[in-house]
Each structure stands twice: as structure tokens, then as C-alpha cells.
């Protein structure tokens, strides 16, 4: 059975970890001895059973009642398996939130019904949008604190829909819940009869797991070159399409043409085809010099070879970026130093432009970058081939920002 990875995001104290604990408890996903261990840990701190302790495992997290780092945990419904990714809600830990969210293909944004939409609510929503996650459900939590009021729900629902619209997104469902008691989480609530929509779990079951782009033109990213006996094997991953032995390919950006001689998989000699997602090796018919970073492509259907890349990037580094600084782009196995031609600063919480022609970008801001790589980069629209449409920017060897490519770029 395949697994759907989803991330739970939202402002600090709006109930992310509690919701996860409750879901695991209600779907019977917790080993008995772990529940016992949990009760003991809560007792030691003089508290009732605290569902958030299931994911908040660090001593500091439990004592201060705050999630510091992202966690992944599995559970299953009758329909399929899930990995829940818990993400911290503090501004200080945004990079951990992003680490978690980058592994997800769906997101649940949780909002405290009493406090309403807060700074990190909007910021997390914008990060979800920047990471290209389109399947989103909004959970209006702690409905017990607003007397299960339908009016409050409608008001918040309208507010949430408006700010999602500015991100060009529409949540699939907006659900009133009480995470600590389980209302509308795994089971329908008896305390909000006016709500006739889905429970959170039902909403999750409706999300789809993205299929690998097997029906797209071939893209094969070279990771490394191994010498095995007499063979030179180009190891890598099929990012899109199907790779076949005997197929004509072009390595880009170097523009060298050849034919796939063999597909190399240990223990599966004579394999003739490999599809998107497979990590394999190939040998080629011509003695070409090929290195990591080359992308083997279907000859007739070349990808975009970009001399310039425009994208919104979330800046999660703790250091400021100066426009004059060199920055490195990492996209699939490609790596290139870039200069920044243009930079616009955007507030990641209000989505307002702070400065059109900026010379600097600060932590937690969104930068609209125009990047000029020192050598052309093979890219695809993120919606077509994810692996070639997402990138990380490194500053002094450390990951500092990340984004996706969604608009068509200049063809070479």
C-alpha cells in the first residue's frame, strides 16, 4: 500500500501536536507500552495525559510545551497508510517546519478558533504555497472555547478563504474540530450538529497520492559514474518518463547524443526498461565524458535549458542575504554558482512587497529572485516534473532558501 505524507502546520499553540496525538490514539496506532510510558512522563511533570508528548519527544519540548523540531510518525486508515509530519509553529523554528513540509504532498493548517488567524498561520500557508503543495485542509480548532458557535466558524471560514485566495489557493475543506477531545478528527462530533461536512480523517482519505510522471518525456539525472569491472556505469534516477535500452538520448546541458546500451541493476541483469522513480545505472554506446549533473533526455522532446531563473524563494537562513553575494543553486544533481540580477523583498506573513529593487533579504522573508547561473540549468515546470522543478539555494555551503519553478523560462 502506498503512503500519503501530510504535514500539520499553523501558529504556535494552536494544537498541531495535540491533534496528531489524538489521531494516533483514535486510530489505535499507539503501542500499549508507549501509552504507559507517556502517562508516566506526564505524571512526572504533574500533568494529565498530554497527547502532544507523542511527537514532542525532546525533554525541552515537553517541559516548555513547545515543538522544536519536526517529526514523522505513521498511522493507517482502512483506505491507506499515512505519514504525519509534525512541524513546529514558532517563528524561530521555521526552517524545521520547512524541512518537514518539503516531504509532504498535502497539508493541514490548524487555526485556534478563539485566537483566529495569526502571523505564523499566514506564514505557514505561504510556505506551503511556495513548496508547491496544493492539497490543503483547514482545521478550526478549540471550537469548545467559542461555545461551538456556527457564527464564529463562518466568520473564520470567510477570513481563511480570503487569505488563501491571495496565495492563489483554495482549501479543499474547512473543518471545525476539538483536537484534544477528538471532535471531527477521526470521528464526527456530537457537539456541532450544524456541521455536516467531512471529518479530518475523511478529508485526508480524499486526497490523492501523486503519480510519478511516467508518461512524460524521459529525464534521467546522472548522480555519479562508477567503474565496475570493464564497464563505466552512469548511475542516476529516472525523473520522468521511461528509459529503455537501445533508446537514443541527449545529455544536457552538454548536448551530447548517444544510445543507451544497457540498463544496470544489481541482481536484475538484462533489465530493458526503467520508469520514473527508479535509481539505476546505464552504459552508453559512445565513449563520451559524462559527469554528475548531466540530464539524459528524450532526443525529440528536450526540456527547458535556462540561462535565467525567476522564482519566489523562502529565505530560512538565519543570515541576511546581500544581493552582491554569490549563491549556489542545487536542482536535482545540477549545481551552479549564480549571480542575482534582481531581487524583490516580500513579507511572508502579509504577502506585501517590502521593497521592489532590494539589495538585501532578511530571514523569514520571501525573495523574488532573478538568478543568472554561471552555466545553463536544465529545468522543468514543477507541475510537470517535480524533481526538476524545485531547488535549494546555498549560501557559503549551507542551505539558505528554497523554491519551485512554475513559469516557463527562456528556451535555449
Amino acid at each position: 500500500m502506498n503512503t500519503l505524507n501530510f504535514v500539520i502546520v499553523g501558529h504556535v499553540d494552536h494544537g498541531k501536536s495535540t491533534l496528531i496525538g489524538r489521531l494516533l490514539y483514535d486510530t489505535n496506532a499507539l503501542p500499549t507500552d508507549r501509552v504507559e510510558e507517556l502517562k508516566a512522563a506526564c505524571n512526572a511533570l504533574g500533568r494529565e495525559l498530554e497527547f502532544s508528548f507523542i511527537t514532542d519527544h525532546l525533554q525541552e519540548e515537553r517541559e516548555q510545551n513547545v515543538t522544536i523540531d519536526t517529526t514523522q510518525i505513521k498511522f493507517k486508515t482502512q483506505n491507506r497508510d499515512y505519514t504525519i509530519i509534525d512541524a513546529p509553529g514558532h517563528k524561530e523554528f521555521l526552517k524545521n517546519m520547512m524541512t518537514g513540509a518539503s516531504q509532504a504532498e498535502a497539508a493541514a493548517l490548524i487555526v485556534d478558533a478563539k485566537e483566529g488567524v495569526q502571523e505564523q498561520t499566514r506564514r505557514h500557508a505561504s510556505i506551503i504555497a511556495l513548496l508547491g503543495i496544493k492539497q490543503v485542509v483547514v482545521l478550526l480548532n478549540k471550537m469548545d472555547l467559542v461555545e461551538f458557535s456556527k457564527e464564529r466558524f463562518d466568520q473564520l471560514k470567510a477570513q481563511t478563504e480570503t487569505f488563501f485566495k491571495t496565495l492563489d489557493m483554495t482549501p479543499a475543506h474547512i473543518i471545525p474540530i476539538v483536537a484534544k477531545d477528538g471532535d471531527n478528527c477521526a470521528n464526527p462530533s456530537t457537539r456541532m450538529q450544524w456541521y455536516s461536512g467531512l471529518t479530518f480523517l475523511e478529508a485526508l482519505d480524499q486526497f490523492t497520492i501523486k503519480e510519478k510522471p511516467t508518461n512524460k518525456p524521459l529525464r534521467y539525472s546522472v548522480q555519479d559514474v562508477y567503474k565496475v569491472g570493464e564497464k563505466r556505469i552512469l548511475v542516476g534516477r529516472v525523473e520522468a518518463g521511461v528509459l529503455k535500452s537501445g533508446q537514443k538520448i541527449t545529455f544536457l546541458p552538454s548536448n551530447k547524443q548517444t544510445v543507451v546500451k544497457t540498463i544496470e541493476v544489481f541482481g536484475n541483469e538484462g533489465k530493458k526498461e526503467a520508469e520514473a522513480g527508479e535509481c539505476i545505472g546505464i552504459t552508453i554506446s559512445d565513449p563520451l565524458f559524462i559527469e554528475r549533473g548531466e540530464i539524459a533526455c528524450a532526443v525529440e522532446q528536450p526540456p527547458i535549458i535556462a540561462q535565467k531563473i525567476e522564482s519566489n524563494v523562502f529565505w530560512f537562513s538565519s543570515k541576511n542575504f546581500e544581493k552582491k553575494d554569490k549563491i549556489t543553486i542545487k536542482l536535482a544533481t545540477q549545481e551552479a554558482s549564480c549571480r542575482v540580477e534582481q531581487l524583490e523583498r516580500i513579507d511572508s506573513s502579509t504577502f506585501e512587497v517590502i521593497e521592489h529593487d532590494a539589495t538585501q533579504l532578511c530571514p523569514t522573508e520571501i525573495g523574488r529572485f532573478v538568478l543568472i547561473p554561471e552555466k545553463p540549468i536544465v529545468i522543468e515546470d514543477f507541475n510537470e516534473v517535480e524533481e526538476l522543478g524545485r531547488f535549494v539555494l546555498e549560501l557559503n555551503g549551507e542551505a539558505a532558501g528554497g523554491g519551485i519553478v512554475v513559469s516557463k523560462q527562456d528556451k535555449a
Partner: protein, 267 residues
């Protein structure tokens, strides 16, 4: 691709990234099911010939069956096997009869590894831990830097987006690389079945008991089980309500024992 194919391919991708970034690489082999699966995946990634050594940290308190298994498969698979002990601590009489589990783990495992890394100048170590084993391990990164004194800075871990791994270990001493982080215990057994991976006999039930997780003999307890085959283990795991490491006492001595062990450099 089915779900085992997805897991396998992701791991092979990570292993190859690891080798590309760090040629001074070693694989930590505890002889248990996870690191044996990891070893299997490495053999696949490198077409049967590992271009780096396999490390066994020998506390000298392992089960006899583990030593037999290690020596047999090291020879069969032509591994460059490094066996490493903290001889100085053993000479001082560190052992389970006289010392607590945390001290033994720290002295005989963590410090032994520390000595080896310093001596052989490893820049990265492949380790077969999984997120679902323990809440603390669930917070790990795939590429996880360790400082010179081996500490894991769990409050300030690097950002890791998609499958772009943090390659620079500038301020760090070495990188721990975790290619099995996304697997569950059940996945491991289903993969062992599919691939027919050799697995230590201690995992299979004898006289109503089997080991679910292997460690040092004095602190590793078997569970009640009648599972004598891989299929029976898979069936058992699908219904069990106890945790995998319930038989491993070093996790349990105090509520945050695992966090403390790991922040000191434990696996």
C-alpha cells in the same frame, strides 16, 4: 513501483549521494536486521562491491550467534570489515556486571566509534536507524552533522528540503547518514522476505521466545513469540501492540535516556 520499490529506490539514491559527497565513508553494521538490510542496499547501489569499509563496533557483549553471522557473511560478501573495540575501557573493567547500561553504551559503543573515526579519519558514517524506532530518532535528518566531541545539536538541525542533502560538514566532525530513516519495522521484514536477505537466527522463535531487536546480551530481552519464519514475524508485527525496542533497557532507564545517549553521539 510498489511501496517496497519506492523505499528501496529512495535509500539507494541517498547511499549514492553519500558516496558522491564523502569518499571517506564507512557503514556501521551492528549485525541486526536493519543494518544488514542497509548493507544489502549498499551492495545493490554499488553493484556488489562496496567501495568503503563496513564497521562493527564490538562491545564484546554480543550474542555468539551475532559473531558467527558476522564472520560468515563478511567472508561471503567479501567485505572490508573493520572490527573496533574500546580496549582501554574494557581493560578498566567496564561491563554490564559492574556498570549501568548508559555507561556501557557510552563507553563501549559511542567512544569506540569515536576512537575509530579519529583514527581512520572517516568523514561520514552510514547508520541504519529508522524514525519509527524511537521518538528521538523520528527527529533526525537524513544527513545529520556531528561535532568534534560527537554531540548532536538537536536544537539546531540543518534544513533539509526534498532530497537535497546538506553536503558541507564544515563546522562538524563527521556526517551521520541515515538511508533507512523512512522505513518501518514492518517494511524491513517485508523487504527481507522479498529479497531473501540472510537474517540472524536470533530473530526467530525458539521455545516460545524470540529477539525483536538485537543489542548487548545482558540488556537485551526476548519477547514471547511463536514466529519461526519471516512470514510469521510479518503476521505478528501486524497485530502487535508493543514497541520494537521494549526489550532494550538502555532506552528506558530514565524518561530521556535515549535523548541523552544520542546527544552524546549514540546511534
Amino acid at each position: 513501483m510498489d511501496h517496497l520499490d519506492i523505499l528501496e529506490n529512495k535509500s539507494i539514491h541517498i547511499i549514492r549521494e553519500a558516496y558522491k559527497q564523502f569518499h571517506q565513508l564507512g557503514l556501521l553494521w551492528s549485525i541486526g536486521k536493519d543494518s544488514t538490510t542497509l548493507l544489502w542496499l549498499c551492495r545493490k547501489a554499488f553493484f556488489g562491491n562496496l567501495p568503503f569499509p563496513v564497521i562493527h563496533i564490538d562491545t564484546t557483549f554480543k550474542f555468539p550467534e551475532m559473531y558467527t553471522f558476522r564472520d560468515h557473511w563478511a567472508k561471503e560478501w567479501k567485505l572490508n570489515l573493520i572490527i573496533s573495540k574500546n580496549q582501554e575501557a574494557l581493560d578498566r573493567g567496564i561491563g554490564y556486571a559492574t556498570h549501568d547500561a548508559i555507561t556501557c553504551c557510552d563507553e563501549l559503543k559511542t567512544k569506540a566509534l569515536k576512537q575509530l573515526i579519529a583514527q581512520k579519519k572517516f568523514k561520514a558514517i552510514l547508520v541504519g536507524i529508522r524514525r519509527d524506532e524511537h521518538g528521538i530518532r523520528a527527529k533526525e535528518r537524513v544527513f545529520s552533522p556531528r561535532s568534534e566531541n560527537f554531540t548532536w545539536n538537536y536544537k539546531n538541525q540543518p534544513t533539509e528540503l526534498w532530497d537535497q542533502y546538506n553536503s558541507s560538514a564544515e563546522s562538524s566532525d563527521h556526517m551521520r547518514i541515515h538511508p533507512l530513516l523512512h522505513w518501518t519495522e514492518l517494511d524491513i521484514w517485508e523487504y527481507i522476505k522479498r529479497e531473501n536477505i540472510p537474517i540472524n537466527e536470533l530473530y526467530f522463535a525458539k521455545n516460545g521466545k524470540r529477539y525483536r531487536s538485537l543489542g548487548c546480551m545482558p540488556i537485551t530481552k526476548p519477547i514471547d513469540s511463536t514466529a519461526t519464519t519471516v512470514d510469521a514475524i510479518i503476521a505478528e508485527l501486524k497485530t502487535t501492540k508493543t514497541a520494537e525496542r521494549a526489550g532494550r533497557s538502555q532506552d528506558k532507564e530514565t524518561a530521556y535516556a535515549m535523548q541523552k545517549l544520542r546527544s552524546l553521539g549514540y546511534m
